[in-house]
């Protein structure tokens, strides 16, 4: 059974479908990347799965359970965490407070979870009393991912985690994503840095105008000349 299975999604804003018969599937330990041109509906697909954009038709199953159009707080308590592309930290709160709030929906002691996040991102431990809003883009992205990991998710959804980062930080972010995945967390992400993302991905989807165009293993998509020419910039 797959961790996430979205079938035949039609979803969008104000009656206009951005997704048209979109499919997504993710195995428990997989990294799956959604790539495609601007306006392809990549972010919308993520938001629809997480219950932020209403799904008009189609079903989303998570661990076999129907979670279509459930509100975000229900997703969080079931072990799905989502990191939006922009405005993904609480700027006036400290790093520590950002992380603590990540576990708001969960009961019990969050100190062990905090330690785990600090293990993955030691830098956050050093800077835990810093205001998140004054940190660099790379550090903010760590805070955002750390906050998501505080719910001990089985599925982590990342919307363009490397957007606006320097090449060195992009490498580091992908490295962290791999580490997170090795803890047994499924990762579904949208990426503009398609080549690098597909290189660490188990599988990838190419979306265009809200429809599935290609789906294959990461290396196979990278090797596919049509995909390379049309969607990866030659």
């Amino acid at each position: 059974m797959s961790l996430l299975d979205a079938q035949g999604l039609y979803a969008g804003y104000g009656g206009v479908d951005i997704l048209r018969n979109t499919h997504l599937r993710l195995g428990a330990d997989e990294i799956v990347v959604i790539v495609g041109p601007n306006g392809a509906g990549k972010s919308t697909a993520m938001k629809a799965v997480f219950g932020l954009v209403p799904i008009r038709e189609g079903r989303v199953h998570y661990q076999g359970e129907d979670i279509t159009n459930r509100p975000p707080e229900r997703m969080v308590t079931r072990g799905i965490a989502y990191v939006p592309q922009e405005a993904n930290v609480f700027p006036s709160l400290s790093v520590l407070e950002n992380l603590e709030l990540g576990a708001y929906a969960l009961r019990g002691d969050h100190r062990p979870r905090l330690e785990k996040v600090f293990e993955i991102f030691p830098r956050l431990k050093e800077r835990r009393n810093q205001q998140a809003g004054v940190m660099s883009g790379g550090e903010r992205q760590m805070v955002a991912m750390g906050r998501a990991l505080m719910v001990e998710p089985r599925l982590l959804m990342l919307d363009e985690p490397t957007a606006g980062l320097s090449p060195r930080l992009i490498d580091e972010t992908f490295e962290r994503i791999r580490e997170v995945n090795q803890l047994g967390i499924g990762v579904l992400m949208v990426e503009q840095n398609a080549r690098q993302a597909l290189a660490i991905a188990d599988r990838g989807y190419v979306l265009a105008t809200g429809e599935n165009r290609y789906e294959d293993t990461g290396p196979a998509l990278l090797a596919n000349p049509e995909v390379a020419e049309m969607f990866l910039g030659g």
Partner: protein, 254 residues
């Protein structure tokens, strides 16, 4: 010079009353993104609640304060559930206008229930302390200390408790708070309860300092928002100092 310092003392007193109103108004603005025009009338309602407790049970006004704060907190939550919650999804300007209507309704209710003439908690004259050339009423010191205590309590609530941090998170980034799984409805209710309670305390202190009348809160709405904006609207800190700095010139007019 003596007069300036005396004005400063009076300004600090009025400032602590304004600060209580401004902290509540700014918390409501931070979480709900609209200027709550009925906030001054929450103050008046709180003051009159205390008046009822004082006259019916013959209690000192400070003993009536917690009752008035709790009752006004309840009223604020009830008004939110009845009025604001239904129109929260529309533009903020609609909320603002409806809070204006709420203000009018509250003021009329006060006139219906308690009458429109001036009233006081306590008759008689309180002899001021004379410190050199300056005078200080014992009530003023009490008001200043109680108001400071309440502001410190709110600060501790916002920085040390789970709910307080969630409130700041919502005021920071509503969307992310939702994504994180923070229960918005519960935080909003808490915000109204705290805003209402602080407004009631401000109203009671104002009544202790002067007198009670149905527009006592309404006339303070402008300086409250002045303090709110000066302190940075939607940001819970800097509010109290802003309350004091906007009150000093205000009090010199009287």
């Amino acid at each position: 010079m003596v007069e300036v310092i005396q004005l400063l003392i009076n300004g600090i007193l009025l400032g602590s009353i304004l600060a209580l109103g401004a902290v509540g108004a700014t918390m409501i603005f931070g979480v709900l993104r609209f200027a709550h025009f009925a906030h001054g009338d929450f103050m008046a309602v709180g003051a009159y609640f205390a008046l009822s407790v004082v006259t019916v049970f013959n209690l000192p006004v400070l003993a009536a304060l917690p009752v008035a704060m709790a009752a006004t907190a309840g009223l604020a939550v009830a008004i939110d559930q009845l009025v604001y919650r239904r129109i929260r999804r529309v533009q903020p300007v609609i909320l603002l206008i409806s809070s204006f209507a709420t203000a009018l309704v509250l003021r009329s209710l006060i006139q219906m229930i308690w009458g429109s003439s001036n009233q006081v908690y306590q008759t008689g004259i309180q002899l001021p302390w004379r410190i050199g050339p300056f005078t200080l009423k014992p009530d003023h010191l009490l008001i200043f200390l109680a108001a400071t205590g309440l502001v410190v309590t709110v600060h501790l609530f916002l920085t040390r408790t789970r709910l307080g941090k969630a409130m700041r998170a919502m005021s920071d980034n509503m969307n992310l708070a939702l994504i994180t799984g923070i229960p918005a409805d519960r935080v909003i209710m808490a915000t109204w309860a705290i805003g209402g309670a602080l407004a009631a305390a401000a109203g009671v202190f104002l009544g202790m300092d002067t007198r009670l009348h149905p527009v006592m809160g309404w006339t303070l709405l402008l300086p409250i928002f002045a303090a709110t904006i000066l302190g940075g609207i939607g940001r819970p800190y800097g509010r109290s100092s802003a309350g004091w700095s906007s009150a000093v010139p205000w009090s010199s007019r009287h």
